[in-house]
Amino acid sequence: MKIRNYWNLRDFGASTWENASRPVRVAIALISIVLVGLLPFMGGSILATPIASFDAVLVYPVGMFVLMSLGLNIVVGKSGMLDLGYVAFFAIGAYTMAILGTTTGLNTWEIMPIGIAFAMTAGVLLGIPTLRLRGDYLAIVTLGFGEIVRLVVLNSSWSKGPNGIANIPMPPNLGPLKFELENQKVFFWVVMAMIMLTIWMIRRLTVRRPGRAWEAIRQDEDAAELMGVPTLKYKIWSFTLGAAVGGAAGVLYASKNLYIAPEMFTLNVSILILACVVFGGIGNIWGVVVGATILGYLPDRIRFISDARLLVFGLVLVIVMNFRPDGLLPRKKREKAIVKKGANA
């Protein structure tokens, strides 16, 4: 009998999941969802964040960071393209919500698909000319794109320039679930649902053809192309899906914050989201979720030390990356096919 290494959380989790029968898996999934769903009620416990309200912190930054990190992970982790302008898609989603929400009668749920469509369109338009580039060159171009989007909204009259857009409507109530500023539990559940949808999407794609194509591109793009993988097409898909998730996050963010301005969409956001991905474990969904949760939550948890908190934040990053250079939960390197038997995933 093999001795399990309980300290290796990734392999422990993966093997537990694989050895579990279907009912057990469903039970694990349901219990986890309920537990995470109950998080906003933990505001009185040790988890509480001083100054900021706990359920607000769970929505932004924690939930939003997780969502955006998962989106960026499709691009950076799955297909190996370094994107430093991810905030652009977040901004496009947010400004779509802000402008349509304040000028038309459309509500958040009606604007959501429009915002996603705009972000995806931007992804395709940016992707077609630039995704022929690789590595550092792609990073610079995407960085430029992120800055261009910010400068455009900063200097345009339709986006109200540096003043930003105020009075963005909240989402309409979902039956008995009311969206309120003071009580953001419902926002949290919406973010949670979006996160679960994103995870479902990534997992579906990973075990099938697109996942293999991305993996091949990440490891050796020329070999992939010569083995018949239409690399540009799959890179654009990857970029566009990442953009869609970023756009969706942006729409919800604008509708939650009620006010947006260009200064919210700086390069810093792109870098921070990238840090979440790398910190958690580039390419591993659960690593990214954990990484983004910690990096989103920590600064608010230690807000009582005010000025020193960014120092602590930086120290944590440096120390963890030193001891776990591949992130908290690194990408799986087990000797097991990612293709499921019968592929009835």
Binding site: R208, L226, E335, A343
Partner: protein, 261 residues
């Protein structure tokens, strides 16, 4: 011996220049269906350049590359593979973090129609193709004789198995023509004998093989025809026993004797 058929690949007066360097100078080459054609020549003769021109890595400066009635000049690399040309690499270029089986499955995807939407929603065609691909890939690993390694990561495989996996991956694309770039590099004599048997088996299964190799005993043993390149020019094209005794070939490999000049 398999039956040699019609011309499958034809290079007509192909020239490839890199700046001032002429890597290929008016090369004519014909590969016929069902044969094993060996491409040999001293280092720097342009052998790998021929492969790169055929597979679309380089665009030839002039000349025509015709594969089974289609001009390869304007095709993208993955389209060339889709038409039925697959290759291996001189330096192993497997996807190291994928298992052996996944490497081959990824190659089998080339002829499949289902894409992202099918994968996302688990449409019937996508699911059926996953099952087909998996079965086909396993079959190929068995054919090449490395199925016991199917669940091992490619980078952890023994060197010889990696070389064979490269061939398996190329076959995964269901090619008509397989280009093997020094498949025996780094092999000991016993492994070379085994590889020769594998290459023959590949040909007998209906694939056409174009082979770059340095090992003369391997080439003389399995090839139906040998083409010799030297400084980008074809200097011989005949059956192995004739090429072996061609004075120009001997000269290209050994240099001209001092007293003959």
């Amino acid at each position: 011996m398999a039956k040699i058929g019609k011309t499958l690949l034809k290079l007509d007066n192909v020239t490839m220049k890199f700046g001032g360097v002429t890597a290929l100078n008016g090369v004519n080459l014909e590969v016929k269906e069902g044969e094993i054609l060996a491409l040999i020549g001293p280092n720097g003769a342009g052998k790998t350049t021929v492969f790169n021109v055929i597979t679309g890595v380089y665009k030839q400066t002039s000349g025509i590359v015709d594969f089974d009635g289609t001009s390869l000049g304007s095709q993208k690399r993955y389209q060339v593979t889709g038409l039925g040309v697959a290759r291996t690499f001189q330096n192993i270029r497997l996807w190291g973090d994928m298992t052996a089986l996944e490497n081959v499955i990824t190659a089998t995807d080339v002829h499949k129609k289902s894409g992202l939407v099918g994968a996302l929603f688990g449409l019937p065609r996508a699911r059926r193709e996953e099952v087909e691909n998996r079965a086909r890939a396993m079959e190929i690993l068995r054919f090449i004789g490395i199925d016991e390694y199917s669940d091992r990561l490619a980078k952890n495989l023994p060197y010889g198995v990696q070389r064979r996996l490269e061939i398996a991956r190329a076959l995964g694309t269901s090619p008509k023509l397989v280009l093997l770039d020094e498949p025996a590099a780094g092999f000991n004599p016993a492994e070379k004998v085994e590889l020769a048997a594998t290459i023959k088996k590949v040909r007998d299964a209906g694939y056409t093989v174009l082979l770059i190799e340095h090992d003369m005993s391997l080439i003389m043993g399995i090839s139906d025809r040998v083409v010799v390149l030297d400084f980008g020019t074809k200097i011989a094209d005949d059956i192995p026993s004739v090429v072996q005794n061609d004075p120009r070939v001997i000269e290209a490999y050994l240099g001209v004797p001092a007293d003959a000049s």
